[in-house]
Every structure is written in C-alpha cells, then in structure tokens.
C-alpha cells in the first residue's frame, strides 16, 4: 500500500468519516429485491445521510434518494473524490483542480435557462434550486480513462427542472455550458487544451430519466470547487466527462449540441459516452476499470450497472457507432 504525504490543500484524515461508517450505511445489493426500474430507498431506521468532513457548508433539508450499489461498492473517501479530478479548466493533471481551484468563486452564481422553453431567464442559484427537493444519490462514477469511484451526491432531479421550465415540443436536446473565467480558472487561459466554454448535452429522454440529477453537493456538503461547484450534471450511466461542471447556462435546443470532447477528438469521444465494456477507447480497453483505492481492475458493467434503468433509451441503436 502506498503512503500519501499530505499537502496543505488536502483534507486531514481526522476530518473524514471513516470508511467503516460508510460501509454500514445503505449497502443496497444490486438488483436483488428491487423490482425492475423501480425506485429503491434505504430501509427506515438506518442512519439517514452522509456526514461530510466539514470542509464546505452542510446542506440542509436533504432527503434520501435512489441509490443502488453492490456489496463491493464501498464509498470512495472524500479525500480521494476531492483531490483526484479531471477538470481541465483548472489544469490537465489529476491534482491540478484541487491545487488551482482555490480562487474560484462559486458564490454568487447565476444560471441562465434559455432556448425552446416557456420559463426562461437568468436566475440566482438559490432561486433556481428553491422549487426542487434536494436528494442524496450514491452513484458509481466511471471515468472514460478506466478508473471509477462511488460518490454520495446531493442534487435535484433534472426531470423536475425540465418540467418546471416547460420546454416546447421542438426541444429535443438540452445543452449545458460551463462558466468561462480564465482569471479564476488557469486552464482556460490556453485554448490549446480545449475550446472553451466546455459544452455538453443530453437527449431530452436522457435528461428526463430519473437517474439524471443536477448536483450541488457531495458527502453532505456543498460541492468543492474542484468537483464542479456550485452546480454540475450527474448522469451515472455515462462516462464522467458528460457530467459538465460549474454550469451557467442550460438551453433547450432542437439539434444535438456539439459537446466539447467530441469536437476536440471525435474518433475518441462521442456524444452519448455511455459506459460500455464492449466498446473500447482507441487507446485502451473499456472492459475493466480501477476503482480508486483498489490495486487490480474490476469488470466494467454495461451502462455502469444502471442497465435496468437506462437500456431502453438506446433500444435499437448501434452503440458501437453511437459511442
């Protein structure tokens, strides 16, 4: 086992809830005992929600949401989830976001909703979130680079957001955009890295799937800057890069949005980015993944283990073509 020297920006281990505490909570066994496609909630009487490390503000009025984990899915430590990140706006190395995100200001924050919808406009984040119920969802996160984590997110149902803003029948897709602040996000000072702003998109039925959330927190607290504060997408059956961070604009559109990674390297990254062990990345296999903390890799599950919930969205589609 490797030992890790603490950096100043790291969370000290005394601030982290011990893994055994996580393990005792809501260990739901995948599929067994759950009706297909149904929503599962943890049994009553169990400790309700994740306790954070006290780094960021604790989130209140959070209810338990849908979490479906296997027995071999222990929660990733907060320290790992908050310091091993891909967030190229803060640099391309995994430790860059935690080291460079300190000057980022996620407050105050405004979100613009526009395009083919009735309720459009620019909203303060609080106002945007207010009509919706905060829920904790413990999801697997599978990065396209063949590593994965298990993270307790706190967010709102994306389907509820869509319904509230009343898109027209012509709105077939949702486009999400990350903020551009090169003065606070050093990675954005170079267009050599990626074309900014970072853009992602979902098909409307993907957005309406009950698994899709807009996350505002993790581990019981508001999101750390390096994890996409203050608002990010989380679609657990897709590779991590789909889950656009620090969202400032949500647009209802009629055409499939051009997502950043697909623009940058089209033969490597598609629009759908569904986790699929049978469709490899040109440079590596997607059949296996390393769960952060494990030494050897484990098998990657179709749709990251959320096949029951999302497979119907892609019925009849050639997933080798629509990668």
């Amino acid at each position: 086992m490797l030992i890790r020297i603490k950096k100043k920006s790291d969370v000290v281990s005394s601030e982290i809830t011990s893994p055994s505490v996580y393990l005792n909570r809501r260990q739901l066994i995948a599929a067994t005992g759950l009706a297909a496609g149904s929503m599962a909630f943890a049994g009553k009487g169990e400790p309700a929600l994740q306790q954070g490390p006290g780094v960021n503000a604790k989130l209140e009025n959070v209810k338990e949401g849908y979490s479906k984990l296997a027995q071999n899915d222990p929660m990733t430590s907060y320290e790992a989830a908050a310091s091993y990140n891909n967030f190229y706006e803060f640099g391309t190395a995994k430790e860059d976001p935690v080291e460079n995100a300190g000057n980022f200001k996620p407050k105050p924050w405004k979100v613009t909703v526009d395009g083919l919808c009735k309720l459009s406009g620019t909203f303060d984040l609080d106002e945007f979130l207010k009509p919706h119920q905060l829920e904790e969802r413990i999801y697997r996160l599978r990065c396209v680079e063949a590593w994965s984590m298990v993270i307790p997110w706190i967010g709102i149902s994306l389907a509820d957001v869509v319904k509230r803003h009343e898109p027209s029948g012509d709105a077939k897709f949702i486009r999400f955009e990350t903020i551009v602040r090169p003065e606070e996000m050093p990675g954005q000072r170079s267009r050599f890295i990626l074309p900014w702003p970072y853009v992602e998109g979902l098909r409307m039925d993907e957005a309406m799937n009950p698994l899709s959330i807009l996350a505002v927190g993790m581990y019981g607290e508001t999101l750390p800057n390096q994890n996409g504060a203050p608002l990010r997408l989380m679609t657990p059956w897709k590779y991590g890069f789909k889950n656009v961070k620090s969202i400032v604009r949500i647009s209802f559109v009629d055409k499939q949005p051009k997502n950043t990674w697909n623009e940058a390297t089209p033969h490597e990254y598609g629009f759908y980015a569904n986790v699929n062990p049978t469709v490899d990345h040109p440079r590596w296999s997607q059949a296996k993944e390393r769960r952060i903390g494990d030494f050897l890799k484990r098998d990657t599950l179709m749709f990251n283990g959320y096949e029951e919930e999302v497979a119907s969205l892609y019925a009849g589609m050639d997933l080798k073509k629509h990668y």
């Binding site: 490797l2 310091s83 091993y84 995994k94 890295i193 440079r283 590596w284 296999s285 890799k297």
Partner: protein
C-alpha cells in the same frame, strides 16, 4: 609533454562510466522515494507506469546524445557512458511494460491480444521495445567480437527507429497536452539530423581522399 599533462583517457572513461551509473540509477532512486512518499496519488500503479515510461524516454534521449557529444568535442571518454545509459533505458522500458501488462491488463492474454490487434498506440510502443531488444542482447563486449564491430555498429543503428517509436508512442498516449511529447520529438529530429549530417560529412571526406 609531461606525464601530468598527457590525457589519461582510460581514467576519464572510468570516471564517465561512474557518472553514467549514477545517472542511470537516479530515476530508480527517485521513483522509490516517490513511492515511499505517496507521490503517485490515488491511482498509483497508473501514475507509476507513466512516470517510469517518461524516464525511459529521457534516458534514451540522453543515451543518443552521447554520440553527438563525442563528435562535437572530439573527446572519446564520453562514449564510455553510452552502454550504461542504454541498458538502463531498456530496463526502465521493461518495468514500464511489466506494470502495464501486470496491473493495467491484469496478465490477461485476452486483453494483451486485444491490445495488439486494436490499439495502434500500444503497437507503436511494442515496436519500440522489440527494436531495443537486439541492442540490449548485444550490449556486452563478447557480442561485439562475435558479430564483428562493423555489423554490431550497423545493428545499433536500430536505436534511431526504436527511439522514434518510443517518442511516437508517448505522443499518442498522452491526452490533450502534447507539449512534452513535442519537445522530445524535436530532440529526436535534431539527433537524427546530426547523425545524417555526420554521415554526409564523412562520405564527402572519403570522396576527397579517393
């Protein structure tokens, strides 16, 4: 000339060899310290593999710089560094591949075959290592006398395509930020130009003589 002023080239060669040994072992020591310090972060096998691979390329570039250094300075003891650096390069490349096959592919033949069949970037790396293999196997004095100096030197020209493939492999494997790979590629081009230039100069000299 007094005895003190006469350059004792053999002694200098021994010194150069010692320095080369230190340089060859330095990455291993740094890697060990990094492992102990936990510098490899949350995906340590992956980070370790990447770092060893980078060291192999840097040492390879250094090995290939010995020739030009000799040509430019006319000082033959430099050549004593070459074998140590070259053998170390091969050793680091082997560790890189062993970590890849062991921890990234989990020693799975299915994954290995799949890799060779489908992934050009991996294949380029395999070619680099394959080209290095005959060079490593002939890196002892007996080999030179057995196959003859001329054939040995010809065989060791394989170092150029091996280095080019190693750097190309690195360039293909790194993601969006290719600056480091491009810098290495620039050095490869310079080394190759120097080698061809030296060749050209020697050919012209021969023509003048004949």
């Amino acid at each position: 000339m007094t005895a003190v002023e006469r350059p004792n080239l053999a002694a200098y060669a021994r010194l150069v060899k010692r320095v080369a040994t230190v340089i060859a072992l330095a990455p291993a020591i740094i890697l060990c310290l990094q492992v102990i310090a936990g510098d490899f972060g949350w995906n340590p096998t992956r980070a370790f593999m990447d770092t060893v691979g980078r060291w192999a390329i840097r040492l390879f570039l250094l090995t290939m710089a010995v020739g030009p250094l000799h040509r430019l300075t006319g000082w033959s003891p430099w050549l004593a560094a070459r074998r140590r650096l070259g053998v170390a390069t091969f050793a680091y490349a082997c560790v890189h591949v062993a970590v890849y096959v062991g921890f990234e592919l989990g020693w799975s033949w299915e994954m290995i075959i799949d890799d060779l069949a489908d992934r050009g970037a991996i294949l380029v790396g395999v070619i680099a290592l394959t080209l290095m293999l005959p060079l490593a196997l002939t890196s002892w004095d007996g080999a030179i006398s057995r196959i003859g100096g001329r054939a040995w030197r010809r065989l060791h020209w394989l170092a150029y395509p091996a280095l080019a493939h190693a750097v190309y492999h690195f360039g293909l494997m790194v993601g969006r930020d290719k600056r480091e790979a491009l810098a290495y590629a620039g050095i490869v081009v310079a080394l190759l130009a120097g080698r061809i230039g030296a060749w050209w100069a020697r050919r012209n000299r021969r023509r003048l003589i004949s």
